[in-house]
Symmetry: C2
Subunit: 485 residues, 2 copies
């Protein structure tokens, strides 16, 4: 312990050890270094590249994805409602359509002012709109009282894990690879991550036997496993689960009384096949086998940050609870009350995401055009990047099914592994740092998501426009392989 730290209340040796344990590589060393490069380029310094590409984080609008016009026009009006007194100017001079104006009015009626706190679980009218969306999506009823608006799905996951984690021996099944929010939050809560591996050879699908084995092993170690996390479509894998896989998980959860946490924030980012919601599959099962699945507890999460909406900075999400005990829901309400409510502008965005302009509405044509163009362009870039990986020596990449990511495996040559060890880094970190230094492209090493022992991966978004940066990655990879051959 240094003299300095002894003179203070807080030092690295005496703060919350659970916070210290938490790891969150998405914004770790590589991200910090990439920001330094960005700043140096801005100061006019010469580097081996002209531009930093932040492929480490699913942040579409940072990478020039344009917001959807309808959403932002409505938000401009809820921010400054006096504009509604100038309907003529809005329509004639500024090109606002009448449904933009009417949507702003109806949102303002629901929230009062976006500057006021709402109900802790979110504005009732917006939760009602979410419930109607879920009903349309799944074909089964949804109850607004079971919908909780939150500051991004991350905040919802935080709430749910805070409720679930009872003791240091509470365990939660988490897919590996996983988005590190889950392991980081379990670390902060001093609970156990019970890892189960996804099947890379089966396009990163779930393998129910793998899940069962992990569960059994944890139980044998005295871990009280209480929940299972599923990320569908997958992050970092991009996998899109089949209804059969989902059924198997639900059946297992029903049998072992596990809460299912279905992280479904990428539900519209599906390029191969289609999205099946856990709620829809669960309700279908309940219909097919009356009584058998009545007690299944499901929390499904969605967000405005992903999909074609891409509004990360507005920090908006929701979760729907199915089958939860009423007394437990009261504790969830109290817990979210401590932070008062989620951002109101974000709540308005949620409403528009779940209830966008429909055919016949004045804004529909532009909305559809913008939405489809974003979808198309994401799919094209996913396919192009996937194609590039296919051509690289020692790189394997599963089909670009969905989400915003590819998660290729890389066979790092033994000489590079040795040098990584000498630098006290994992081989994939070594690779990703070299990639960043050479090309300005920032990805996240597989270590940040965990991976099977002795495998190496990295996660890259396919959000960056153009293909020039993909060329840079290919060139780097060849040189890297040649250097360490």
């Amino acid at each position: 312990m240094s003299v300095t730290s002894q003179l203070r209340s807080l030092s690295i040796n005496n703060i919350n050890p659970n916070v210290k344990k938490a790891e969150y590589a998405v914004r770790g060393e590589l991200a910090v270094r990439s920001e330094e490069y960005r700043a140096r380029l801005a100061r006019g310094e010469k580097l081996p590249f002209d531009k930093v590409i932040s492929a480490n984080i699913g942040n579409p609008q940072q990478l020039d994805q344009k917001p959807i016009t309808f959403f932002r026009q409505v938000l401009s009006l809820v921010e400054y409602p006096q504009l509604l007194d100038h309907g003529d100017v809005l329509v004639k001079n500024l090109g606002y359509k009448s449904d933009v104006i009417s949507r702003a009015r109806s949102l303002l009626k629901m929230v009062g002012s976006v500057g006021a706190y709402s109900h802790s679980a979110g504005t009732l009218g917006i939760r009602q709109s979410v419930a109607r969306f879920i009903e349309r999506r799944d074909g089964f009823p949804a109850n607004p009282a079971d919908v909780y608006l939150c500051a991004g799905a991350s905040s919802g996951v935080n709430t749910l894990l805070n409720i679930i984690c009872q003791t240091p021996m509470t365990g939660v099944l988490v897919p590996i690879p996983q988005y590190p929010l889950y392991t980081a939050t379990l670390a902060v809560l001093n609970a156990k991550c019970v890892p189960y591996y996804l099947e890379e050879s089966k396009n990163w699908g779930t393998d129910i036997n793998e899940i069962k084995e992990s569960y059994k092993k944890a139980k044998d170690e005295g871990i009280d496993v209480r929940a299972i996390v599923i990320i569908n479509p997958g992050n970092p894998t991009g996998a899109s689960l089949s209804p059969e896989d989902i059924r198997a998980v639900i059946e297992f959860a029903a049998q072992e009384k596990l809460v299912i946490m279905a992280d479904e924030v990428y539900q519209t980012n599906v390029f191969i096949g289609k999205f099946y919601s856990f709620k829809g599959v669960l309700r279908t099962l309940q219909k097919e086998y009356p009584g058998k699945y009545d007690r299944v507890e499901l929390a499904s999460l969605h967000s405005t940050s992903k999909g074609m909406v891409g509004e990360c900075g507005h920090r908006a999400g929701y979760f729907e609870l199915v089958g939860f005990d009423k007394a437990v829901q009261e504790q969830i309400y109290k817990f979210v009350s401590i932070m008062l409510c989620s951002p109101l502008v974000g709540q308005c965005l949620i409403e528009m995401m779940v209830n966008p302009p429909m055919e016949g509405d004045e804004s529909y044509e532009l909305y559809k055009k913008e939405y489809d163009a974003i979808f198309q362009s994401l799919r094209d870039r996913a396919t192009a990047l996937h194609g590039a990986f296919k051509e690289m020596e020692g790189v394997e990449c599963q089909d670009p099914q969905g989400a915003m990511y590819l998660f290729p495996s890389i066979h790092v040559p033994p000489k590079a592994v040795a040098q990584a060890q000498a630098e006290n880094r994992s081989p994939d970190e070594f690779y990703a740092l070299r990639l960043l230094d050479a090309t300005g492209v920032c990805v996240v090493p597989g270590t940040g998501f965990r991976q099977r022992p002795d495998t190496q991966h990295f996660r890259t978004t396919f959000l960056a426009p153009g293909t020039e940066w993909v060329g840079r990655v290919k060139k780097f990879h060849k040189e890297f392989m040649d250097e360490f051959r």
Copy 2:
């Protein structure tokens, strides 16, 4: 345990016990009942009152406080930047001033898009603006690297307590009465609240001897006291601390190596005397006694939710760290990264709060007029409500110094105390429920903030417009006293 709960993973008996322990009365039973009354009135039901007055929560815009025009005009532009292509229309048809337009442009230059994630601690340019504000306010330098933007001060408090709470024996000195965020968060973190009483007879000021005694008692019980919370101006008390009181706290914190958490969200809500920031007083002390206070760790919090800004729904705040260890700050950065960043529109609001239109700017006149009118009206209502309390039998109320609250003490008659006990309620809860049932005015019983044993209080905001509701309270109080005489 019911059969139902045994069939599920989660029941009230097996969720996180720390969450169960947490209490948050500001949105508790009374608030829920008041919302029921509001819904019943909306359905046309007849109740003893026509309108529910939510005096339980500092939510200005719910109670018809108008947002400041400059802020909202700028936000309309950052939400829909295409409006900037129509500068003429904005100026000629919609009354936007040129500084509104230039502010929106400069904010957009800083954030890129409000739909993109920012740096985890907030957009650098905005943190720089906050640092300049702190410099102007205190007359001492501030470093943007020590400023963290957060989703309201509540989120900042959550971050800081997560870092500080090391073991179940970690203690934090908390003023009583206090805003229940502190006790609730300490409960969730399974750490110890070390209460110290404020001096009601001295306008709810701090008494350093009281603090020292609480500290000593806690140490004797084996509690590792690591921090002291000060809420200035006070919530729920409205107290405004003198520089002498602040100096005494800093001296004590320096001596015992305690982090000072200065909750200064009401810093512009001061009606009697003036606001002294902990940072300013600390820097002055450091100048007067070189070396003696160099290691003091101070976290000071501010927010856009209070003051004349009143933008609670945008969930924006910041904290500045002074004297913190670098390695500890790295852990804080990692911790806030897990939730990615605070809402970007809120970040923009922070920038405008700390850097409002200045004399000579086109928007200045209107800004000043609106700001002063809100200030004046809050002061007038505080004074009027205080006057009403002075006239009520068995009610005592300290001077309306600041914040948004009065916290009168009420001498509940013995007969009412007996009936409260029969209903298994504290006397102040009993009083507040009766008040709500009779008048529709929702306040928070003193129990929700804790109070000295055998004293009864309630907290009411003075945000509700008009005086009619104050008359209702007076009438109820007289009838209550008569009933239980």
